[in-house]
């Protein structure tokens, strides 16, 4: 849904402004539905992100606040999924108008 809500848009840009958070989205778009443990290993070996699990957890909170990731609980476990829906807001805002 298109929205011009400034606060929501701010959260999206804030979330995307950090390279580690973009790497998290890269990893989830390759392998959706990861635990924090799996995600930290992939970030370490594929992106040389050496942040602590606690730091990654905080990055995930920022991404979740922007609705760029969604968390699904399965029993005692938490799996992280990418949600690209908010990116449409950005794309639609500056979409190129075809000239006839």
């Amino acid at each position: 849904m298109f929205t011009c809500n400034t606060l929501v848009v701010d959260l999206i840009f804030k979330a995307l402004a950090d390279p580690t958070r973009r790497s998290i989205l890269d990893e989830l778009s390759k392998h959706d539905g990861q635990t924090l443990f799996e995600l930290c290993q992939r970030l370490l070996f594929e992106h040389k992100v050496e942040s602590s699990r606690q730091a990654i957890s905080q990055h995930l909170d920022v991404l979740e606040a922007a609705d760029l990731i969604r968390i699904k609980r399965q029993g005692r476990y938490k799996f992280h999924f990418i949600n690209t829906e908010p990116l449409k807001t950005i794309q639609q805002r500056w979409s190129h108008k075809e000239r006839s």
Binding site: T35, F37, E38, Q41, F45, R76, K78
Partner: protein, 132 residues
């Protein structure tokens, strides 16, 4: 000095023995009645019967262990790790037995590993371990 034992927290001996012997394939080495319904049960790998023993530690209800296990589960962190020769084969075999994996086999930095739920409240990593 050598490492001879490691432990996993459990709350139910029978359920733990069922999983670790019936599903994972370890064998019982010691089963000693300790009184007050306490037992000292250790398991070993049939591939290494004189190797390190796995103690089934009935401390899952201890408040410290409870907090630890909740936090580990939420973040998907295994409490210990077992070596396997062929992870793909084990993943297929155990999935077929209904074992839940929170991490499918993943190759990272020379390690090939997966994480499973032991149905006793713990996550366990299985890994093809590269020689050091």
């Amino acid at each position: 000095m050598r490492i001879y034992i490691t432990s996993v927290p459990i709350s139910d001996y029978d359920n733990a023995v069922e999983f670790y012997t019936g599903k994972l394939g370890f064998v019982k080495k010691r089963d000693i009645e300790m009184g007050h319904a306490m037992r000292f049960i250790t398991l070993v790998s049939p591939e290494d019967p004189d190797g390190p023993e796995l103690l089934l530690e009935p401390n899952a209800e201890h408040r410290g262990i409870k907090a630890l296990r909740e936090a580990l589960a939420e973040d998907g962190i295994p409490i210990t790790s077992f070596a396997v020769k062929d992870l793909d084969a084990e993943y297929k075999r155990l999935s077929g037995l209904g074992v839940l994996f929170t991490q499918k086999p993943m190759r990272q930095g020379g390690w090939y590993s997966a994480v499973l739920d032991d149905t006793n409240g713990n996550l366990i990593e299985l890994a093809e371990v590269p020689s050091a």
